[in-house]
């Protein structure tokens, strides 16, 4: 044997070479096209809108949206619509509703921040909550709307309220409804 440094270099050279060649040749198996399409249709979701409609269900929707958008580092948009009755002007002072909306958005933002997102927050006024949601979704070119609701009896049938039904019916993007039974 020669110089110890030479021996060390000789062995290191061979080992590194073998490791590199082995790594190169061990290609991961390609996923079937239909699997790729399914995976990418989820990965392609880059802008997620979460309308804050009602208490705990909406907060859970924010958590879901953050988890859905985590891998592709999606942009989270949080929205609360103050529904202004037709009987008062659109810019009429509604301090209670404003306060409630701000509070709901603060809680929702906190959840998003916990996941490392910097959410875009909107508190808007509109005659109809569904119109407000749909108009922001279009304006912000969102890929997905995530809504959390509770199961309850309404005049439109069981579980789904007017706002959610309208959004489901008219949205041009993917809509995910997280429906939890009351008390669930």
């Amino acid at each position: 044997m020669g110089h110890p440094l030479g021996v060390a270099i000789a062995f290191s050279f061979v080992v590194i070479l073998l490791v590199v060649i082995t790594w190169m040749l061990r290609l991961p198996k390609p996923a079937p096209p239909e699997v790729v399409k399914a995976i990418y249709s989820v990965e392609a979701v880059r802008r997620i809108l979460v309308p804050i409609i009602e208490g705990v269900y909406s907060e859970r929707a924010v958590e879901l949206a953050c988890r859905l958008g985590e891998r592709q580092n999606a942009h989270i948009i949080l929205l609360h619509v103050i529904e202004v009755p037709y009987t008062v002007p659109l810019d009429a002072p509604l301090p209670e509703l404003e306060k409630k909306g701000k509070k709901a958005l603060e809680t929702a933002s906190f959840i998003a921040l916990q996941h490392g997102f910097k959410p875009e927050v909107h508190l808007i006024r509109h005659r109809s909550a569904s119109e407000g949601i749909l108009s922001l979704a279009k304006q912000s070119a969102v890929d997905q709307i995530v809504m959390g609701i509770g199961l309850k009896k309404t005049s439109y049938g069981e579980g789904i309220g007017r706002t959610v039904r309208e959004v489901l019916r008219r949205a041009n993007c993917e809509v995910i409804i997280s429906k939890i039974p009351v008390g669930g």
């Binding site: 020669g2 440094l5 030479g6 000789a10 070479l17 590199v20 290609l27 390609p30 070119a141």
Partner: protein, 506 residues
Amino acid sequence: MKEKGAKLRREVTTWGSFTWGYADVGADVYVALGLVMAAAQGATPLAFLIAGIIYIMVGLAYTELASAYPVAGGGQYFTLRGLGDFWGLVAGAALMLDYTVDVALFAMASAGYINFFFPQVREFGMTIGPFHNVNLIWMAETFLLITILAFLNIKGIRESSLLNELLGALDMIMETSIIFIGFAFAWRPEFLLHQWRTQFPTVEKFLYGISIAVISYVGLESVSQAAEETKRPTAVVPRTSMALIIVVLMFALAFPTVALGILPWQDIASREGDPVALLASKLPFVGFLAGPAAAILAATIVLISANTGIMGASRLAYGMAEAGLIGEGLSAVHPRFHTPIRAIMLFSGVAAAEALFAFLSGRKAMDTMANMYAFGAMLAYFLASLSLVALRVKEPHIPRAYRVPFNIRLKGIEIPIPGILAIIGTGTMVIIVLLTHAIARVVGPLWVLVWVIYYAWYRVRSGKPVFRSLPRDWNKEQLRIFEEAGEVESLEKLKWELARKGIAVQ
């Protein structure tokens, strides 16, 4: 016989893609070691290291570009897309110089090593007009080898790739053995340090050495050229390119380091034709086998490098013709063999003409060829590095299976710092080559000028603009590229990106 519209066939495997690059490199180190040693003397490993750092930067750029744009053309295509038609032509001309010189130089060298077993042929010489000592037999052997390789390349990429895969594996084993035995049994670090301290070259010689050392690293380009015929290119090309960067760097640094720890640099420099053979002959246990073994090793390495040259030149011409930079007849693909037959024949002929020039010019031929090689490589690498940055700005939405790391964000666009360093490094190397290489300074720019004149003539004749680029729908082209490559993931990604940006593709 020939059919316009027939396509290249995807038959290059992962190992095949790697050996297309390694084939070039194996031979380049073989040739460069003696030439660099003659210039950089005791600092030869440092010259290879500096050239290697530039190579890493360029290599990363090529890895990103070749995985995003897996089409024939390599650096020429990236430049065309990033900087426009005119600069695409300039990059193509520079690369064509490299590939044809590669074929001529290495077919000549391979025949020379075969003649190791036939000394009478090696010594043969005759006078033809003003040219003295012309070895007609060696010249005929060279032409025969070029013809055989051209035939093999016409026959199919599978056949030519198989030759590279087999010989590439054999060469890697033999080169590794030389390095292993050299370091483990014969290397003396104190002798290396002594030469480093006492035999350091002048600045001018050192710069010259670096500019020759870069030819050891020309190989990534071949991986890009074969990308259109590589199976699963967006998965394979980044892996083979990254592996090639590491492996080539290891060999390029190991050879001069081990050599200077065993032999004085003057001995290696005096054998510029076969420095590795000399090194092998000084090794314990295997030294007695060194002569014939090294001759066979050299003959095979340089032969597959010549083979790579023919593949590269023909795919480059194919790509340029497809892009409307040169006569479209050169993009004709053989209906049965699916290879660009006219491009193979034409540029094998150009390489044979260069070999003829080398035989007539005498002993300076190898140095002259190496200079031209360095000029072509550095100019093309400079333009390709510029294109990396240009394409990050122009086409940020194109899916990249690999992205050059360490980016700075400017107005929402990620600019790769290694790409900027590659531009500075290769730009400096172009200047060094022009300052230190007397022949390359004249012949290199002249070669590019001839191409530019032809290009201007062709574009005017065919009613196309000379300095403006042809209108192209790159998004449509990219969808086609991914679709033909069967790269479903990249295709889906691009479709989503285009839809999100509201870009309609006809």
